[in-house]
């Protein structure tokens, strides 16, 4: 087991919004909201995740890939050709932005796994996850930004406005958006290291440093996850994947495992509930995210925001009509929704769960 790694540390700002009726919203909203929180990052990483942006390919896995060079592109494309039906390959549209460094090659593929490759007990999703793991850990110079259906991640080294402009974010329309700006303390910028971090249709933007990273990583390794990025966000993504996709917990319970209630509160619960939460803590104690965090995770069915157990990082939520907003700062919400119907600060460990209604 490799223990000689250097962990990536970053502070951050984040924002997210969801229209539960699936009415499309342009990417310009989230970009504007994030731009207000420019001072929460240091220009070394920003990114966005969008859901509902590829309705014409809704049934296909949308692979957003980043390459350092053409060699890595060829290696990945060969692998994809052998394992997937590729409906479409294209460069991700970008525009030049002054001040932004040299960007990597950015491509997207709309694919579905070849039937004869998904054999035995393996599910299609597992097959895709394995592909992502293989590319990220074994194929030098290639990195998967996102791999879900009808969604995509856009990220890079820059501030939120630069990245939004670069990817022409205003031209996309989606019903869930999340955004992130980073303040890494120890790493040179790397496009793959920006948030959101994704796996299948999961996307995570995260503000915080998980003080329990060491055990979280070792716990996930026991279940075969390879943690190559050495970021807290990667831990969050894989933990959710494990608990929700593999172990079948629902989202509120998965949130309770990530930021569990204190024993003093569990002790006061009615018996059946006490049993549930005790078991959650016993089974997932090593998966508990301890230390400061606020995070948003988007998925094909909705958006969830959650804080650590004692709220050491900010998270504000607001509602206006069918849209729910969440952000590190209230100002970032009011920037794009000046008069929300309701604004509140979610309590520590108490998730805000919004599900799409249609």
């Amino acid at each position: 087991m490799n223990h000689d790694y250097q962990k990536d540390i970053a502070g951050c700002g984040l924002a997210g919004l969801i229209n539960k009726k699936k009415n499309p919203l342009s990417g310009s909203h989230i970009a504007k909201s994030m731009a207000l929180m420019n001072d929460r990052g240091n220009g070394l990483g920003a990114g966005y995740a969008a859901y509902g942006i590829y309705p014409e390919f809704a049934e296909l896995y949308a692979f957003h890939l980043m390459y350092d060079d053409h060699t890595s592109r060829m290696e990945v494309e060969n692998h994809l050709k052998n394992n997937y039906h590729i409906e479409k390959t294209e460069e991700i549209p970008t525009r030049p932005v002054e001040g932004l460094g040299i960007s990597p090659l950015l491509l997207r593929y709309f694919v579905c796994p070849l039937e004869d490759k998904v054999v035995g007990d393996m599910t299609e999703k597992e097959f895709v996850v394995n592909t992502v793991m293989k590319i990220n850990s074994e194929m030098e110079g290639a990195y998967v930004f996102s791999s879900g259906k009808n969604m995509g991640a856009f990220k890079g080294v820059g501030n939120p406005k630069e990245i939004a402009d670069f990817f022409l974010l205003e031209e996309y329309e989606g019903y869930i958006w999340t955004g992130h700006t980073r303040f890494p303390t120890n790493t040179p910028g790397w496009w793959g290291g920006a948030h959101p971090f994704t796996l299948l249709d999961w996307s995570i933007v995260h503000n915080g440093e998980i003080s329990s990273y060491g055990i979280n990583k070792r716990y996930l390794e026991m279940f075969g996850y390879k943690l190559t990025l050495l970021t807290d966000t990667e831990v969050v993504a894989y933990t959710l994947d494990l608990m929700i996709r593999k172990h079948g917990l629902d989202i509120p319970l998965a949130c309770s495992a990530l930021a569990p209630p204190f024993w003093k509160d569990i002790d006061k619960m009615p018996d059946a509930e006490k049993e549930v939460y005790t078991a959650l803590r016993l089974a997932y104690g090593s998966a508990m995210l301890n230390g400061p965090f606020s995070l948003l995770f988007g998925h094909s069915g909705g958006l969830v925001g959650i804080n650590d157990r004692i709220k050491l990082r900010p998270l504000v939520a607001a509602e206006h009509g069918d849209v729910t907003y969440m952000a590190s700062e209230e100002s970032a919400i009011r920037e794009i929704c000046p008069k929300p119907d309701k604004v509140w600060a979610p309590r520590a460990g108490d998730p805000v769960i919004v599900e799409l209604e249609v």
């Binding site: 250097q6 003080s211 329990s212 070792r218 026991m222 509930e273 016993l282 230390g291 004692i310």
Partner: protein, 502 residues
């Protein structure tokens, strides 16, 4: 009787000016160092073990116990103990015995590990103002759980959890039998265990009826001698422990001399008064791992499926052995490290066999994770935990909880003199002589041991707070929060920790 040529280790001295001839030293010394010479106290310093009972109980502070400055000629090869032991063996033809853990200067890795703390990028947490959780459950944990919701969305648990021992803090008392220690010493452990919501362990000497009120805080042990084992005993505690080995004497059995078997001990152990209680080296129904499995399940059947702990000495191949023990069905594996204590062990075994607990915990935790079965059993690290810092480091290396033996005895007056096997302990801890054991008031010293557990709990909370986590499970196995100082690359690799500066 000839005069021994083995040099006395200590010189007991009495300042004749200060001495008021009160004879308290004579009364207090369990080893008969002092006797009355008609007008003054006479000293037989050869018998002195430096337990310091007389020193503390001399009302005039007239006593001093000095290290014997007279040594054999300096020799980097032939150390004092080598020469002295040879002389003793030549005189007696026996194996020099000893008590306590090894005192030889092997590397203590705990002293080469440093803990992390938070600065700026993540906040530390103040345990005086925020909840700081130390609660720990020992037992098999499910790899995943199934939860169903009823039509009102109320969740209920569908997975059946295995039996668990709830500890309010991640410390337990190590097995020490009635016989090796006095009943009062066991009562001290029981009192403090109950007071702190943790457990003590009977050791292999059976369960005296005076401890019945404490059975919610007791693990009963089954060792190779099967002393005191009957159905009632097996079902008395919260768990049963199968003792395979002990850190101080891996591979050999127990040795309780007849001198330490008065009526009460004999009754509890179900053996004749004054007979030597010699536990066989192996358990004679366990010659292999499949035999262990059968005993584990026999005990589970006998107890209605209470948790079963298996205690082993940490030996070279400990990781593979523990993997087997876990697969054999153990709910808890108790690892007793090389420096673990004993009431009686041959010097040659204690000082030269086994491996220290730090390596063992790291190797075992790694192996169980590699095999995907770390959740199947809890790990207790014991044998050399001297402070809360050691405990925190052991937990960070992968232990669920730590076992405290010698530490507990020190709160009762023990000075680690290492003469437990003689039965003469002046503090009444490892003696069965009523005039000595009466000195150990279970409530007074129960309170002291309880204080110690509370103090260490506070310290552990401070450590967790400085690490920026508010629950002990976030420290468990979190080796990222440890750094090694002055350790070679291979040791770091075995421990799974980075060097300081990385």
């Amino acid at each position: 009787m000839f005069k021994s040529l083995a040099l006395p280790e200590y010189l007991a001295t009495i300042d004749k000016e200060k001495c008021i001839r009160c004879k308290r030293c004579i009364q207090n010394c369990g080893w008969s160092v002092y006797s009355w010479g008609g007008d003054r106290v006479q000293i037989d310093t050869q018998k002195c073990v430096k337990c310091l009972r007389c020193y503390h109980y001399c009302p005039e502070e007239a006593i001093d116990i000095l290290n014997n400055e007279t040594r054999y000629k300096d020799n980097a090869n032939w150390g004092f103990s080598h020469i002295r032991n040879i002389k003793r063996q030549a005189e007696t033809g026996g194996m020099p015995l000893t008590g306590m853990g090894s005192d030889l200067p092997y590397t203590i890795l705990f002293d080469h590990l440093l803990l992390d703390a938070c600065q700026v990028t993540n906040p530390s947490i103040d345990p005086l103002r925020e909840p700081m959780e130390l609660r720990t459950y020992l037992g098999k944990k499910p790899a995943k759980i199934a939860i169903e919701r009823d039509k009102n969305e109320k969740p209920s648990l569908k997975t059946k959890l295995g039996p668990q021992i709830k500890l309010d803090v991640p410390f337990i008392f190590s097995p020490m039998s009635f016989g090796s220690i006095s009943l009062n010493a066991q009562k001290v452990l029981a009192y403090a265990a109950k007071e702190n919501g943790i457990v003590m362990n009977t050791g292999e000497g059976g369960l005296h009826e005076d401890l019945f009120p404490y059975t919610d805080n007791i693990i009963v042990q089954v060792a190779s001698g099967r002393f005191g084992v009957n159905p009632q005993y097996l079902n008395a505690g919260v768990a049963v422990e199968i003792k395979i080995g002990q850190g101080a004497k891996p591979g050999i059995g127990g040795h309780l001399p007849g001198e330490k078997i008065p009526l009460q001990v004999a009754k509890t152990r179900m053996i004749p008064v004054g007979s030597d209680a010699l536990s066989p080296a192996p358990q004679h129904d366990i010659y292999s791992i499949e035999d262990l499995r059968q005993l584990i399940y026999a005990l589970k059947e006998a107890t209605g499926y209470k948790p079963i702990s298996v205690k082993i000495a940490t030996v070279h191949n400990v990781a593979a052995i523990v993997s087997g023990i876990v697969r054999a069905g153990a709910d808890i594996v108790y690892l007793d490290g090389f420096r673990g204590g004993t009431g009686a062990a041959p010097n040659v075994i204690r000082d030269h066999m086994g491996i220290p607990i730090e390596y063992a915990v790291a190797a075992v935790d790694d192996r169980l994770r590699q095999e995907g079965i770390r959740n199947e059993a809890s790990i207790i690290a014991a044998g050399g935990i001297r402070s809360c810092a050691d405990a925190a480091k052991a937990i960070a290396l992968g232990a669920d909880a730590v076992g405290l033996g010698t530490t507990a005895l020190i709160t009762m007056g023990c000075t680690t003199c290492g003469k437990c096997y003689t039965g003469n302990c002046s503090w009444g801890i490892t003696s069965q002589r009523p005039e000595l054991t009466a000195r150990l008031d279970p409530e007074v010293f129960g309170e002291r041991l309880s204080n110690l557990i509370k103090a260490w709990s506070h310290e552990l909370q401070e450590i967790l707070g400085a690490l920026g986590v508010n629950s002990v499970e976030s420290l468990r196995g979190s080796r990222e929060r440890l750094r090694g100082i002055g350790l070679d690359e291979q040791t770091l690799d075995i421990l799974g920790v980075k060097p300081v500066g990385r």
